[in-house]
Subunit: 200 residues, 2 copies
């Protein structure tokens, strides 16, 4: 059980499912399509996952796991180089952009599901969302504690707003201006964040 071979099959199924569901949505994506895209028999899907829904839930956990790990590592590395927590924040924005550039399909799918209610996987989604927001909020809190950011900062709301800013800007970048470099996008967002927008 859980052999390397099986792991590889599951990975193929994740990759097939993520692009199809990002394009078409969960309900319009058929299990037959997923199996075909993954180059696997339909029976294999049900040998590896209890249901279509469970495949999707594990996919969510898998993807958000990658994101949070990447954000955490960026934050740690960012604070280590300069000792300033705002640099950790900036490094996290960069890591977010990297993630979205690398896994655009997962990001689309995540956004599409995030604020839906009454879905089978709602509790799973709430948990993984909490994981991701916590990483951002923690860095914000550290920066406030260190006196780098105002004590009046509304941490949870700001974490959400930052998350949204990066998310929407990056998705628009991917969808409508894919020729731009990541450095370019990163610079524009950093500027906006650091209040260097006002003229003079």
């Amino acid at each position: 059980m859980n052999s390397a071979r099986r792991q590889a099959t599951r990975q193929k199924l994740y990759e097939a499912a993520v692009t199809l569901i990002a394009e078409q949505g969960f309900s319009s994506t058929t299990v037959d399509e997923i199996a075909e895209r993954a180059g696997v028999a339909k029976g294999t899907v049900y040998y590896n996952f209890a249901s279509k829904t469970e495949l999707f839930e594990e996919l969510l956990r898998h993807g958000v796991g990658l994101l949070t790990r990447s954000l955490r590592e960026a934050a740690e590395a960012g604070v280590k180089t300069s000792g300033r927590h705002v640099d950790a924040l900036d490094a996290m924005i960069r890591a977010g952009l990297d993630f979205i550039a690398r896994y655009p399909a997962f990001t689309q799918l995540f956004v599409a599901e995030l604020w839906r209610t009454n879905r089978a996987w709602q509790s799973t989604l709430l948990m993984v969302r909490q994981d991701a927001v916590t990483v951002v909020a923690t860095v914000l809190k550290d920066a406030v504690d260190a006196g780098e950011l105002s004590e009046e900062l509304d941490i949870p709301l700001t974490a959400s707003a930052l998350f949204g800013m990066v998310l929407v800007a990056a998705l628009d970048w991917q969808a409508f201006q894919p020729e731009r470099s990541i450095d370019d996008v990163h610079a524009a967002l950093s500027r906006l964040l650091q209040g260097r927008v006002a003229s003079g």
Copy 2:
């Protein structure tokens, strides 16, 4: 044709469809459900709209029409009172929050579909998105032309980022902290936007 009665039926169908699709997504929402929620027979749906997809597309146009009108009015009123374009921007943020508070279901649905590809209504979505972003970008451009914002400002990307900031913060507010007042949320976003985040 286009009688008051028919208009009323279409309105009922919009209202029924928007909440159901926001909760469940387009594909998981059945025409039977929409009809039942609207208190109307299934045939009536097809008497008023050519297909489920067309109902959805007209719903998108209808909703984004409301949003852009509201943003435009806010921007005009905002610039009139003080003559400063950054106040128009702030007024637009407020109008965005108002809209999301008033039509949360439409907002959810719009976000969920915005970055999907390969969907029947993609072109419709692209058009209405363009309408909305243009309103924001226009105000940004006016502010830059008036010397209130830096000339180096990346207008389209900043417009997207602002849009995302307000969108995600507001959806999180609605979903996870609905007890907070709109003034409170508005203040936090204004602060973030105007660079009053850094301490000191």
